[in-house]
């Protein structure tokens, strides 16, 4: 498949635009998906507590259709990764993601799930987007329930803007060695200088 961008040019010629039925169908499907996202709470740490607080009565996820937590990935729509993910857990969260059927989305909740947070060390994955594709990042340590709800609203907007004619959304992309954008893993190691002020911290002391 390769990492080619989908063709999203907008045409104003009436014949090539989508018809009324197609747009109404899009709206119906997207609206029902967005307002009944069943979350799979992949809560590992402190953010899981904030997620529970968001689901509780004061902030209430039920008004977004998300009160039915699905702990089986087979029945879930959104994987909400709340908390730090150690390297030991990495293949497991990848397998959970692969077990979720399409359509699926992912919210990375908190600093640790987004970038590794304060745990820039040997044991924590520096952002789950290195393992699974993420749709919405919610920063915070932990994010306030209002912050998480804002992230959920952003996801709902993303879902509402999907179109059936865009066939690339529901495809799971694997890197294609034949594409001209493909970078082999050995070259990525060269490019992968640690981020920010952690340069040269991989060398042994002193």
């Amino acid at each position: 498949m390769g990492l080619t961008a989908p063709d999203r040019t907008v045409s104003y010629v009436p014949e090539s635009q989508e018809g009324w039925v197609a747009t109404r169908l899009d709206f119906l499907v997207n609206w029902s998906r967005a307002n009944s996202l069943w979350p799979m709470p992949f809560g590992t740490a402190c953010c899981a507590i904030e997620f529970m607080a968001t689901a509780a009565s004061r902030f209430d996820l039920a008004r977004f259709g998300m009160e039915r937590m699905s702990f089986s990935p087979r029945q879930a729509d959104v994987l909400i990764c709340a908390g730090r993910v150690p390297f030991k857990l990495a293949p497991i969260i990848r397998r959970i993601w692969q077990q979720m059927p399409q359509p699926k989305w992912c919210i990375s909740m908190g600093a640790c799930a987004s970038t590794g947070g304060m745990f820039d060390n040997y044991a924590v994955v520096q952002g789950i987007d290195t393992i699974i594709p993420v749709d919405v990042y919610v920063p915070g340590c932990p994010p306030r329930p209002e912050g998480l709800i804002h992230g959920i609203r952003l996801l709902q907007e993303k879902v509402m803007n999907e179109r059936r004619s865009d066939s690339t959304i529901r495809q799971e992309m694997l890197p294609d060695p034949n594409s001209e954008l493909y970078i082999p893993a050995s070259a990525i190691n060269e490019l992968g200088e640690p981020f920010g002020n952690s340069v040269h911290q991989n060398r042994s002391a002193p």
Partner: protein, 225 residues
Amino acid sequence: MAGSAIANAPAPTTPKGVTRDGGEMNPTAKALSEKFPMAVERSLVVWGETTIFVRPSSILEVMQWLHDDPTQQYDYLSDVTAVEYRDLDQPIEVVWHLRSLPYRRFLRVKAQIAKNQPLEVPSVWSIWKGADWLERECYDMFGIKFAGHPDLRRILMWEQYREGFPLRKDFPLRGRFSRAEQLRQALDQNPESRYSMEELTVADAFEDLPEDMRRRLTSGERTGE
């Protein structure tokens, strides 16, 4: 019952006004240096807690005596850990935290092992079964081998972890490999190498339940929530 070895044991209270030096030494220190004069190197009291330095070669018999002797009865192993000091010339110390529930005592036993030798100490698993995972954690983080341990393998990091021993002083905080390589190796690990999904299904585990549980479950008794 805690405190059962003390006659007319009063209710335990939190000690107040504990000073760094000058605390009362645990009577075990004196008894130990009388019983094993060659094994005990020194003992000291810091913040009210007694620490005894023991030669690594005599650890096993010292621990056995501490567990079995009726005047000691250290029946609870709290922790097995290790210390490596920032002064890299100091030896690595392996630390055992022992508690005597009948006597309500706490004891810290340390063994110093030189870094230029292979890091090995005897395992106390035969005495306290709780040492199983405690010693595995110590091995995982420091690389100290426990001779006589039934199943010494990594516990906090995955079993095929190759970067080294994370809590050693020469191990950098972010690990030795690049992030991409760490991720690749982490995704490559096989977390199910020691068990299979089949043996975790309830039907298969039924045979391993104790006999009275099997009887209660087959008779339809609601044993859970």
